[in-house]
Amino acid sequence: MKRFYILLGKLIVKVLQLLGKNAGNLPGGILWTLTRHKCVSLFDVRCPIIAVTGTNGKTSVTNYVTKLFSQDGVKIITNKAGNNLDTGICSLLLQHCNWKGQVDADYLILETDESHVPVVYSQLKLETLVVLNFFRDQLDRNGEVETLILKINAFCKTFTGNLILNGDDPNTARLGQANPENKNVKYFHVEPYANATAELFEAGEGRFCPFCGSALKYDYYQYSHIGKFACPECGYGTHTPYLTASDIDLQKPSFRIGENTYTPALNSIYHVYNMTAVAAVARLYNIDNGILADAVSNYTVKNGRMEAFTLGENPAVLNLAKNPVGANMTLRVMNEMPGEKELLFVLNDNIADGLDVSWIWDINFSVFERVTRVVTSGTRAHDIAVRIKCSGYDASRIIVRPQLDEAVEEFNRTAGQKFVIANYTAVQPTRSALKRYIEKHGGAANEAD
């Protein structure tokens, strides 16, 4: 039966490819139904599997880790584009297995949706799990953050592989105690950067100790609830880091791990955390420092993550923000840009975004600096306009254009620096609209991989 499913799946992939369609999820979806939700168990994987999960940064870190392992003659299978549910991973493996379901690769490096970690890795043997962070994100899909953490925690109770955890996130570090037998738990840590604060600055999750319920004490907050924390009652949070990033300088930008200095391609603290996670994987697998340093300085993921465009004459940056933490980080980056700028915010409420747009009220818009005009677009263009208005921003400088091409035209009616924020399903349509504008009015797009 198993071989029949594999052949059927491969056939569906071929047909979809012949039709010019994306085979990212559908083949896996069909097998998921046929196998009674065990579609990943069809495969025979003998090579190490490294999985990356967490609310923010999965796609980036997965791409960087893949870059670390990408040497001549090494075959890696990875879901670069982020089909990260069991069905997406099944569709991916169908394209790389033989008719017996045997997968031919040296490494599987898989971005995995938080809620699907237990699903996928109860069926495939996982060697290393990297957990970046847990924030409120798409609450109506994932349920409350706590429910999600409990699911992964249940998985970690029996997991004995490498567990690389963000030691500065109380929601993530707690997974290190799920299985006291597991000696392979490794925490990464980042020393405070210049804009770290003594008080919580943005909406955060997990202000209370998950073990005893006491309020956690912080030496500093880097952003949201990420920082140096400890529980004054039970001592949770006093773990020793496996790896520490220090001397964080976002102006250069640079940071140091041990004796080595790195110059990351992006200048946000959020990116430094991602790079520290990548460095932890590099240390674990004894990857040469030259390879790590090269990936950190020279590699960028061009998929709407701080992607540069020139719209006519106007320089523009597009960044994805699918939850308050991502959006607050993006606003910080925008504010740190010198001079005046205009903002285009594209907000959709499609299923993959989470239907609930309440999260935009957890974005701290009161920090706006030198933002001279705001254009809003997307299926919830009006909601984000109201949100920005109620933060105290002058309503007469907010223009609502739900249709994207109209919004981009309106946005570029004036000259100057442009900043574009789009949520999950809005990113690709926004990139396309920016490119259509460039075709019509000139400029340049940073071509994606």
Partner: protein, 247 residues
């Protein structure tokens, strides 16, 4: 003019789904009218305040864990809250806050968390955490004296019953229980509801009803609220009502 005084309870714990936005909206609508407005906070480490000194007491929604933690703190506030309610202080409660002011909340594992017992209703969460009322919701309320469509987003497992005077009739969505006709609980000085969005974002008239109620408690208050330019809010309402009701 004496300021409108608001007590935001457990802002550090009950703050899911942008519920703090309601405070930002009330502050914004006061500021645009030069009405002073002060927001105090109460959390587990605070001393128990005189709740009756406030015009409005506000509680947002929270996750199960946080609700458990604060159900142990609520008993020390219970008498003060009951007195404030009797003194006519306005109570605005969202989701978890709504549930905790009732008789009890039975969580998905069958554990009962006692409520403050201010109102008669109680809430029972289904055994499965997957069963939740999730989606856009429109309820029609008459709290302002005329039918008013309230637009928001519900996301709750708990099923609330024993409600004698609901906040509104459900026009689209679930309400207090799966496929319920009614949503929330209200009295002239109480709005308890499952609506996030946050509640007041797309419902400026409801925000003004609450502010007017608060102002009328002051002797030196103006007779009516100056109108504000709600063009963006009204356009937002039109788009959503069109989408949700004309299916």
């Amino acid at each position: 003019m004496k300021p409108i005084k608001i007590l935001h309870m457990y802002a550090d714990m009950l703050d899911l789904y942008g519920d703090s936005g309601n405070m930002e909206i009330l502050q914004y609508r006061c500021k645009m009218r030069d009405i002073p407005c002060e927001i105090d906070h109460y959390s587990r480490t605070s001393e128990v305040p005189d709740f009756s000194r406030y015009d409005l007491i506000y509680l947002g929604g929270g996750a199960d864990l946080e609700q458990q933690i604060l159900s142990t703190d609520l008993p020390r506030c219970s008498d003060g809250l009951k007195k404030a309610y009797a003194d006519g202080v306005f109570f605005l409660m969202i989701c978890g806050g709504y549930q905790l002011m009732g008789q009890y909340y039975r969580d998905a594992d069958g554990h009962d968390l006692p409520g403050v017992g201010l109102f008669d209703y109680h809430t029972i969460a289904p055994n499965s955490r997957r069963k939740r009322c999730i989606g856009n919701i429109v309820v029609q309320t008459e709290i302002t004296g005329e039918p008013l469509d309230i637009i928001g987003f519900e996301n709750h497992g708990g099923q609330t019953s024993g409600v004698t005077s609901p906040f509104g009739r459900v026009r689209c969505g679930n309400g207090n229980c799966f496929q319920s006709d009614i949503e929330g609980y209200c009295e002239k000085n109480v709005i308890a509801t499952y609506l996030h969005g946050p509640l007041l974002a797309k419902n400026p008239k409801l925000a003004d009803y609450i502010l007017e109620y608060c102002l009328r408690r002051h002797e030196d208050a103006p007779a009516f609220l100056a109108p504000l330019d709600d063009t963006l809010e009204n356009e937002c309402r039109e788009v959503m009502l069109e989408r949700l009701l004309k299916k």
